[in-house]
Symmetry: C2
Subunit: 317 residues, 2 copies
């Protein structure tokens, strides 16, 4: 079975570090990710450079990433203005976040739920106005869906209503995003089933999980068990959400791919390649701590890579 | 459902740090663990003080821990000599490790498999020679069972044969120990089923997992799915195996209990209490890094503790 690992480090990672990664380093990182076999990369966010100067070069990065055939170039857009820029730059996938916690939505996007839904409608109309073969995939991402550091747990009814409204407003899918690192394996299973029950299985494909409380990979396992086959991750665990205090750390791409491959899933990604790409991040952000275990501990002795059962090598010999 | 979290920090943690924790600090730590609700603690190892000076006071620590009614006081014993001391001190549970990698066994215990089995027989005879109400529980622990940094993967047939020999030699149970941090969720499920198939379900109750490659808690999830209900863990992730290069880091008790409680399992343990106990470790081992996420990130807003569903608080209100 295939699992899609979507690298979000160039967006979610870089927007949350103090330093700005030079444009050339970003390009080299993306090239290394593609060389490692990563087939979907969220390369930036179309937000005003005043707000997130680290991502001011997103249009240039999208253009660069598009040179790699077969790679899905994704970008975050907070509103119709950002979507216009993303469409102009040629992003293949747009993700617009809607925080199910209205308090968090106001803090993060300065918009009420109704206002975000209006933006979604405008973006969907913009996409529909394009030739069919040039319409990007459009995801509405339900952030703080596993709980909010400001509001605590959000009622199911509110989550389901917002999921429906996103789909009705024209999204192709809704993602579930653990902005605050509150997700737990039981809740992952429960919420995926619940939201799928509301908007259909095909409309809930991906999870964006954080490792804030150490449960990131356990939550991935839970997601797989209920049929999720797309997971966001970030090299070195870079990232988190600056507007949710205490929330930090995406799940680590290297460790995620190791776990998936160890279980026999196909990712198309080389761990050695990821470790090469990680070196570019380390060199370009020397003051930023990088997380993850595989980079330090190394692969197990006898590890043969994707699609190869590593057990019982001695018996086979 | 109840899950037993067995704290192994005072043994597995302290034997692997350079500094020696003062005896009084160990006692205070154990008291704090008991106050937090921990009901099984591996308090030390009966090995020659020359080999592991950090645990030279194990007999005194066993005697201290025994003052807490209802707490299972466990100790590691490498051989019959250690078991004599453990019985004299009054340990409730003895664990004797047998490395399924003979290379590792020779490096770690300086014994072949046959020699270890002879020790197990001698210890079992010693235990049977005692009055029935004063016989400790006797576990044979299959170490490096998920792979060895020296030998790589060990053939299933060798693992199964050693599991059988441990039970025939007089163990009450065999534990599976991921000494090297090679375990993966798929392998946890496969090996638990396999060894249970050989020696019976009742004889395989516990897992000792490391977090060397970040999969510790994901491996716990896998273990739960195949019916395992006892997990070793160490406060702050202290520990590992000094004879297996690159292997470090037990799973973190605080994070494990958080995950289990979030899934509705009963542990009898207070996370706040664990964080208090962790402070004792931090103060007594100031130069030792402590791992884990909950201690830094804190509990989610609205977290109500064990046995309480934290979701939908607003709907209930």
């Amino acid at each position: 079975m295939e699992i899609l690992v979507s690298e979000v480090g160039p967006r979610d990672g870089l927007q949350n570090v103090k330093a700005t990664m030079p444009t050339e380093a970003k390009k080299a990182w993306i090239d290394a990710l593609v060389a490692a076999g990563v087939s979907e990369i969220e390369v930036g966010s179309f937000v005003p450079p005043k707000l997130i100067p680290q991502l001011a070069d997103t249009a240039e990065i999208v253009a660069h990433a598009r040179r790699h055939p077969g790679v899905t170039v994704a970008a975050l857009v907070p509103n119709r203005r950002g979507a216009e820029d993303a469409l102009a730059a040629g992003a293949h996938k747009l993700t617009l976040p809607l925080s199910v916690s209205e308090t968090h939505s106001l803090a993060n996007l300065r918009k009420t739920h109704d206002q975000v839904i209006e933006e979604v409608k405008a973006v969907a109309a913009m996409i529909r106005g394009r030739p069919e073969d040039r319409r990007p995939h459009f995801e509405g991402s339900l952030s703080t869906v596993f709980g909010c550091t400001l509001e605590g747990m959000i009622p199911d009814a509110q989550i389901l209503s917002l999921a429906s409204r996103l789909m009705e407003a024209g999204c192709d899918e809704v993602g579930l995003s653990d902005t605050t690192g509150y997700a737990t394996p039981g809740e992952v299973k429960r919420l995926v089933k619940l939201v799928r029950g509301e908007v259909g299985d095909a409309a809930v494909q991906g999870l964006h999980l954080h490792n804030t409380r150490g449960l990131g990979l356990a939550n991935v396992l839970a997601g797989i068990e209920v049929g999720i086959a797309t997971f966001d991750a970030s090299q070195g665990g870079l990232g988190g959400c600056p507007f949710a205090p205490g929330a930090s750390g995406n799940i680590v791409t290297e460790d995620l791919v190791f776990m998936l491959q160890s279980m026999g899933f196909t990712t198309g990604i080389s761990i050695e390649g990821l470790l090469e790409a990680r070196k570019i991040v380390a060199a370009a952000l020397p003051d930023e701590p990088l997380y993850g275990f595989i980079a330090d501990a190394g692969l197990p002795k006898g590890w043969a890579g994707e699609g190869v059962q590593t057990r019982n090598l001695k018996e086979d010999a």
